[in-house]
C-alpha cells in the first residue's frame, strides 16, 4: 500500500498549520516525522488518516482519494494513536484494546477478536494489566495500551503520534523495535512522529523533517539527520557521533561552548 500526499494544506479556522506538504509513504517502511514543537506533526498525522480532512491538496491511498474511501474500510487500512490522552478512559485494558476490532465487528467479539487483542496486549507487555482500569495506569502503561489497540486493529498502516513520549528508555526501545518488527514482518507501514532524533536515526527507513508548517527535508535518515538540519530546524548545536552501536546525536547547549547570550 502506498500513501501519497500532494500539496496538502491544513488550517484551524483561519490559522494555517500545514503548507504544501507532499510525500509518499509505503508499506514495509518506517517513516519518521521530525520537527520542533508546534510544527504540525500531529495535524499532519490526523490529515493522513482523514480524521481531519485536508483543507486543500489531496491524500491518495494506492491512487484512490481518501475522501472516496468508506470510513469503515479506511479503518481497516489505518490505525491512529494520538499523542498522550487528555482524558482518562474508564474501562478495563482488555475492553480498551478490543475497541480496535470495531471495523471488523457488528455487536459482539468473536474468539478470533479476543485472540488478536490478547496477542497485541502481550506484545505491548500489558497482558498482566488486562483486567485493570485504564485510568488507574501510569502514563507509560496507558501509551502501551493504546498502541496495543492499534495492533488489534490490524491495519496496513500505523500512524503513531509520539508513541514513546511517556515511556522509559527500555519501553521506548522495546516499542520502537516491536513496531519495526511488525512493519518488516507483516509488511505493514508506519508513520511515526518522534521527538527523539536517536530513535529516528536507529529505527526509521525514511525521515520527513518539518519546519515552518512545511517540509524541510525528506529522505533516508542518515542523509537527512545532519548537524546542519538539527541546527536549522531545532536551533540546537549537536554533534553526530559514531558510537559502538551506530551513530548517535549528542546535542550541546550553546552556553557549554562559551556562547552564553547574556
Amino acid at each position: 500500500m502506498r500513501i501519497t500526499l500532494e500539496d496538502v494544506c491544513q488550517s484551524y479556522d483561519s490559522f494555517e498549520v500545514l503548507r504544501n506538504i507532499s510525500f509518499t509513504a509505503e508499506t514495509g517502511e518506517v517513516l519518521a516525522l521530525l520537527g520542533p514543537n508546534g510544527c504540525g506533526k500531529s495535524t499532519l498525522i490526523k490529515t493522513v488518516c482523514n480524521v481531519k480532512p485536508a483543507f486543500s491538496g489531496s491524500v491518495h491511498i494506492d491512487g484512490t482519494n481518501i475522501a472516496a474511501i468508506n470510513k469503515k474500510a479506511l479503518a481497516k487500512l489505518m490505525a491512529y494513536v494520538p499523542q498522550g490522552t487528555t482524558h482518562s478512559v474508564f474501562s478495563t485494558v482488555y475492553d480498551a484494546v478490543l475497541v480496535g476490532r470495531r471495523p471488523y465487528m457488528e455487536w459482539s467479539y468473536t474468539r478470533n477478536d479476543l485472540r488478536i487483542a490478547a496477542e497485541a496486549m502481550v506484545a505491548m507487555n500489558v497482558g498482566d494489566l488486562a483486567d485493570r482500569y485504564v485510568n488507574e495506569l501510569s502514563g507509560g502503561q496507558m501509551q502501551r495500551v493504546f498502541i496495543a489497540r492499534a495492533l488489534t486493529q490490524d491495519p496496513s498502516f500505523y500512524l503513531l503520534d509520539e508513541p514513546t513520549s511517556s515511556l522509559d528508555i527500555r519501553n521506548q526501545l522495546d516499542t520502537m523495535r516491536i513496531m519495526n518488527e511488525i512493519v518488516k514482518g507483516r509488511g505493514s507501514g508506519m508513520i511515526v512522529a518522534l521527538h527523539d532524533l536517536n530513535l529516528a536515526l536507529r529505527y526509521s527507513d525514511k525521515v520527513l523533517v518539518m519546519k515552518d508548517k512545511g517540509v524541510y527535508a525528506f529522505g533516508r535518515p542518515e542523509d537527512v539527520i545532519t548537524e546542519r538540519t538539527i541546527r536549522e530546524v531545532y536551533g540546537v548545536d549537536a554533534e553526530i557521533v559514531e558510537g559502538k552501536h551506530g551513530k548517535y546525536i549528542q546535542p550541546y547547549d550553546r552556553s557549554d561552548a562559551g556562547l552564553c547570550i547574556s
Binding site: P82, H87, Y94, R177
Partner: protein
C-alpha cells in the same frame, strides 16, 4: 535508594522479559482470552441477578401498600390474568382490582421510568465522556417538565375537546392528552440537549463546562415552569404542582401502554449504538479513525435519550439522579462496556425507582410521599459522594 546498574546488568535485565520472547510465543497468552470470557460471564450473571431481583421486588411491591396482599394472592391474580382457565383468581375479588387497576400500572411506570432514565444516563455519559452528565444534570428533566407544564396549561384551551378525546388500542383508552404531553416534553427535552451542546461548545468540551451549561439551561426552564404556574388557573396549578414533585400516582394503563413501545424501541436503538459509544471512550479522533461518524452518533444518541426520558417524565414529573446512580453503581461491578452496562443500569434504575416508590407508598401510609422527593434525598447524597470520589476527580 536508586541502585545503579552496570551495562551488563541492564543488558541481562532487558533480555529476561524482552518483548521478542513474547512475540515468539515464549510467553503464553491463552489465559488472557479465558480472562475476558470469565469477565463477560460475570457481567451476564450480574444482569441476570438484577433481573431476578427486579422481578421479585415487583411481585412484593404489588402486594404492599395501604392494603397488604399476600404474595400467593398476588401470584394468583397475575396467573389468573395470564391463564384464566387453569389458575383460579384469589378469594378476595377486590385484590384483583387493587393489583390490576391501581398498583400494576404504577409499578410498571416506575420500572419503565427507571429504565429510561438509567439508559439515558449511560448513553449521555458515554457520548459526552463525562461521568457527571445525566438527563437531570443536563437539564433535560426541567425542559421536558416545562414542555409538559405548558401542555397542561395551554393545550386544553387550544385543542378543546380533542385534548380529552382518545382512541381504543388493545382495549385501553389512549388519550390524546397523553400523546401531546409526550410530544411537547420531547420537543423541549431535545431542545435542551441541543442547547447544552451549543452552549458548551462541542461534544468534547470540558466536563465542568457541560455541567454548567446544563445547570444554566435547567434554571431557564425552571423559570419557565414558574411562569406556567403563575399564569395557570387553580385546577391546572394543582395538577402541575403535584406532578412536578415527581410521582407515580396519576399513572394509568393508558400512559404505560404508550411508554412501553417508546422505551423498548429506544433501548434497542441505543444498544445498537453501544459498540460505537465504546470507541468514543478513546477520544473523538480515535473513534473517527475506527470508522465511527462521531457527530452523527452523538446527535442520534442524545436525541434518543432525550426521547425516552422526556416521554417518561411527561407523566411522572421531575425524577432526578437515577441517570447518575444506576450507571455508576453498575460500573463498579461490571465496568464500562456500554453493551453490558446498558441492560445492567436499566435494571438497576428500575429497581431503585421501584423500591423508592414503594417506600414512598408505605412509609407514611395511608398517605404517600412522592418518589421524586425520595430520589432527591438519596440522589443528592449519592451525587456528593460521586463528585468527591478520587477516581473521578482526577478525570475532570
Amino acid at each position: 535508594m536508586v541502585k545503579e546498574l552496570t551495562e551488563s546488568e541492564m543488558l541481562m535485565e532487558a533480555q529476561q522479559t524482552s518483548l521478542y520472547d513474547i512475540l515468539r510465543n515464549k510467553v503464553s497468552y491463552d489465559g488472557l482470552e479465558g480472562l475476558y470470557i470469565v469477565t463477560v460471564r460475570k457481567r451476564v450473571m450480574f444482569i441476570l441477578g438484577l433481573l431476578v431481583l427486579t422481578i421479585v421486588a415487583s411481585l412484593l411491591a404489588l402486594g404492599i401498600g395501604s392494603v397488604d396482599i399476600p404474595v400467593t394472592d398476588t401470584l394468583k391474580v397475575i396467573g389468573h390474568q395470564l391463564s384464566p382457565s387453569s389458575i383460579p383468581g384469589p378469594e378476595n375479588e377486590w385484590y384483583s382490582t387493587i393489583i390490576l387497576k391501581s398498583r400494576m400500572p404504577r409499578i410498571l411506570m416506575a420500572l419503565i421510568t427507571g429504565i429510561s432514565l438509567a439508559i439515558s444516563g449511560v448513553i449521555m455519559q458515554g457520548l459526552l465522556r463525562n461521568p457527571l452528565v445525566s438527563p437531570f444534570t443536563l437539564g433535560v428533566s426541567s425542559a421536558a417538565s416545562f414542555g409538559a407544564a405548558m401542555t397542561i396549561v395551554y393545550a386544553p384551551s387550544i385543542f378543546g375537546s380533542f385534548y380529552y378525546g382518545g382512541v381504543m388500542i388493545l382495549g385501553q383508552d389512549i388519550i390524546f392528552r397523553n400523546i401531546l404531553l409526550i410530544l411537547f416534553s420531547f420537543l423541549f427535552g431535545l431542545a435542551s440537549v441541543m442547547l447544552v451542546i451549543v452552549v458548551s461548545g462541542r461534544g468534547d468540551a470540558s466536563r465542568s463546562t457541560v455541567i454548567l451549561a446544563g445547570v444554566v439551561i435547567s434554571y431557564l426552564f425552571q423559570a419557565g415552569i414558574s411562569f406556567a404556574k403563575y399564569i395557570s388557573d387553580d385546577e391546572a396549578l394543582r395538577e402541575i404542582t403535584l406532578w412536578l414533585m415527581g410521582g407515580m400516582w396519576g399513572v394509568t394503563w393508558s400512559s404505560v401502554l404508550i411508554l412501553i413501545p417508546i422505551v423498548a424501541v429506544g433501548f434497542i436503538l441505543m444498544e445498537k449504538l453501544a459498540v460505537d459509544i465504546n470507541t468514543l471512550s478513546t477520544g473523538d479522533d480515535v473513534a473517527s479513525s475506527l470508522g465511527v461518524n462521531v457527530s452523527k452518533l452523538r446527535n442520534r444518541g442524545l436525541a434518543l435519550s432525550a426521547l425516552v426520558t422526556s416521554a417518561c417524565l411527561a407523566f411522572t414529573g421531575i425524577i432526578g439522579f437515577i441517570g447518575l446512580m444506576a450507571p455508576h453503581i453498575c460500573r463498579i461491578f461490571i465496568g464500562n462496556d456500554t453493551r453490558y452496562l446498558m441492560p445492567a443500569a436499566a435494571l438497576m434504575g428500575a429497581l431503585i425507582l421501584l423500591v423508592s416508590d414503594t417506600v414512598g407508598r408505605v412509609i407514611i401510609r395511608p398517605s404517600q410521599l412522592p418518589v421524586g422527593v425520595i430520589m432527591y434525598i438519596i440522589g443528592g447524597i449519592f451525587f456528593m459522594w460521586l463528585i468527591t470520589r478520587k477516581n473521578w476527580r482526577n478525570m475532570a
